[in-house]
Symmetry: C2
Subunit: 480 residues, 2 copies
């Protein structure tokens, strides 16, 4: 049933999001620290599962984790022209430390290309030192004006990969490997969120990059959320930080570098893709608790019979399922059902004295709220049944999100059609406009080109804005 | 054989430490960021193994991970009297952000009691909300004057647990559970470093704590290193931050809080406990690579025979051993042996064409450098042999460190004996002196009371300094 604590999506989508963040115990606005949040236990547990799954992929593709300093000399940020413009206005500065004014301020890293560039310049001497394939898990800070938990906060948590290569081809290969094998694979398989893989336009690319690739997801209000970016930085940072190496022919060359990152923003994407008016919905692979067991009893005798069955049942789950037995005596079963629904636990098992007698349990699946998702099943074979159900839910959530995105994506051939389509979702259009055209469209519609999809139809059409012929299609959408 | 790149311990212990940090690729002084380091790939991989083993214990004892903001309003640090004195002089301050001067500066957290106290005050209302058992993995910053990689750096990485309880007894129980079940258990079993568990004196306790417990380890130069602390904060922070709750009798009470932490400093302890003049020595449980295989061949034919044997051999290791096959063609076997010795890989397997023919390998153990640790063993049963050897090395390193500590610990009954003993190790003494006495001893000898061991002999003797009778013994030592 609809919950009073959660605003319905149809009434106020933004408030619905904030209600979920609060009621599912994911995060709290810090108030006393401007634009920052406290990530609460359930939110951080989800992030830890995300980190583990991402880290496995990052290591499997040959990268090692390292840790660079939190602080960056302010002058470093100023060394790469586009980078200055992109980040200088939003840094937090340390000007005093140990009771004294500092001769040169430090900034808290908004991203680490510059400080890492400095060290790569020291570490790289010869082609034998390449490639350098490093990643770090870190907190970063950007003094944003308008913040929203997970989606945009002053401090956020992410991984940032930074690599250096001998050739442009190798840097490009790395940039795309991360996009496909790490980011798209993680977001689609673990988060059950379908993504469009594409290239950013000049206007939207990372400040200082040669080319930025991204994965874009659609939220339930039809808006886009950039779920990860992978940048081929060309030789821009190598020139700014003098990252050179001696090649096989004894010639000194600038290295080719890349950087790529995903952040706690993904928690926002997870919420907005799957959740409903009952609360959070989690794909089983990222659910800190996959199964909650709520024992039901009225007296000590019933309690001991029920708990004995629960213990027998869950003994088989250790190491196979992440589960919790909610045996708190201070709360009613109804209160517990509500709490675990809000927190998005995929499967709930209820078991009372009658179930013990009949050797059954009641099973409720979170992706189908209410009666539709509830069934009575035998205790025999329950573990396998739950495992199969979790796998089915994981696939089901992905398919549902994919169907939603497809239903909300349309080809548009005129600017009027574009304006109409971005009210409900993604507008796919031929595009041959300029950066100035893009800016004008953004001013007029608040929509941007999310990406130039890597998969192109190979056909020719007329640009939705300029009417010029082109074989390039892009995705327009309003974005988070 | 002794390595030129590593200063011998007997020549210059401090330089030996710095040489190991550099040559084992553990960390690098950041230079451009005062007092900070870059933790390099091998160092961070060790820290990740430490984190995993600690985190498992932290969760097994009922705690959940959360994440509080990096920045703390400066006024918060000023709220608890002893805390101000302890931390205010060494904070880094953010005074400007987003291009504007801030009305109130923030400090980068030197530790998070104050900001967490603020939120606990909001979250805790009733006895039903208690206990609150949270931990966070975070970077912290203290503007230290004299820094040394891992041992003392401006930025460091740690976990900090913060809990709130309804009674003093529960807070005390928590403080000691962490000391025993999390810290001492981790440091002794995983790091193979024996520790003395004890209470800090008033002079040495955490600023703002009621009681601080600690574990103290002995380094190879006889000096002490505090390897972890667990603080019963009493109601001090609850009073400063108004953390109150309504108890069962409807009375408003201040909560009892605790905090506890271990940091990347433990990497320093690991190095200084086990390493030798050949480089790093790692206990197998914390070795990112437990076994390195160095194939030896002179031509393609030999290469293919050797690599076939290597592949057959290592197929059985997946999921059982952390291993690496070093098949780089750009380096000689001798170069590789040297590199992996420096990095502390516990077991090295060498295999050449003759070994293939004889179905043997050469096995070298890092804890016995040179010929003593090298043997030729059959390929049959190698996996089990290595597993048994790693377990033996883990125990052996602990026993060796324990024997060393015992040999370097002595009971002292006079101040002269104390002065002499602290030149070589720990001085155990009866103690009934004051804080002023402790300060005087520190000024005169540079030694401090490391702890009042929890295990006491139960006998009575005369205080080493005042001559007063007491049943309390303490450990004096110079400390890192």
């Amino acid at each position: 049933m609809p919950k009073e604590v959660i605003t319905q999506r149809s009434v106020d989508y933004n408030q619905w999001y904030l209600d979920i963040v609060r009621e599912a115990d994911l995060a709290e606005v810090a108030e006393v620290v401007r634009g920052c949040i406290v990530v609460k236990a359930h939110g951080w547990a989800i992030w830890e599962l995300m980190q583990r799954a991402l880290d496995d992929r990052i290591k499997a593709t040959g990268h090692a984790n390292v840790q660079f300093p939190l602080l960056i000399p302010k002058s470093f940020i100023m060394k790469e022209a586009e980078h200055v413009e992109g980040f200088a206005p939003e840094v937090a500065e340390v000007t005093r430390a140990g009771g004294e004014e500092l001769a040169e301020p430090y900034v808290i890293r908004p991203t680490s290309e510059t400080i890492i560039g400095y060290f790569y310049s020291k570490w790289i001497r010869s082609y034998r030192d390449l490639p350098l394939l490093y990643n770090q898990w870190a907190n970063v800070m950007r003094w944003e004006m308008r913040t929203r938990p997970f989606l945009r906060t002053a401090e956020f948590w992410w991984q940032e990969g930074h690599t250096a290569h001998a050739t442009e081809a190798e840097a490009e290969e790395e940039t795309l490997r991360i996009l496909h094998e790490v980011y798209a694979d993680f977001v689609e398989k673990e988060m059950a969120v379908p993504v469009i893989r594409g290239l950013k336009t000049e206007k939207e690319k990372f400040p200082g990059a040669l080319r930025s690739y991204c994965i874009e997801a659609m939220m339930q209000d039809g808006r886009a959320l950039q779920a990860g970016t992978s940048h081929n930085l060309g030789q821009n940072f190598a020139r700014a930080f003098d990252i050179t190496f001696t090649d096989q022919h004894n010639t000194i060359q600038y290295a080719w570098t890349t950087s790529w990152g995903v952040s706690t923003r993904l928690i926002g994407a997870l919420i907005m893709t799957h959740s409903d008016d009952e609360g959070l919905v989690l794909p089983p692979r990222l659910a800190p608790i996959q199964v909650v067991v709520v024992p039901i009893y009225k007296n000590d005798e019933e309690r001991s019979a029920v708990m004995e069955a629960v213990n027998r049942m869950t003994a088989a789950w250790k190491g196979r399922l992440r589960f919790k037995v909610d045996d708190r005596d201070t709360y009613s079963p109804g209160y517990k059902f509500n709490e675990w629904e809000l927190k998005g636990v995929p499967v709930r098992i209820e078991i009372g004295p009658k179930d013990v007698a009949k050797e059954t349990v009641a099973l409720a699946r979170r992706d189908m709220p209410g009666k539709a998702g509830k069934s009575f099943v035998p205790q025999a074979g329950l573990t396998e049944r739950i495992e199969a159900l979790l796998a089915e839910m994981q696939t089901g959530l992905f398919q549902r999100a994919l169907a939603f995105r497809e239903a909300r994506t349309a080809d548009v051939t005129t600017y009027d059609e574009l304006k109409e389509q971005i009210e409900r979702g993604f507008a796919r259009a031929y595009w041959a406009g300029s950066t100035a055209d893009e800016k004008r469209i953004q001013e007029e519609t608040r929509a941007t080109i999310r990406c130039i999809p890597l998969e192109q139809p190979g056909t020719v059409g007329r640009c939705v804005y300029t009417g010029r012929e082109t074989d390039r299609q892009v995705i327009f959408a309003r974005a988070y």
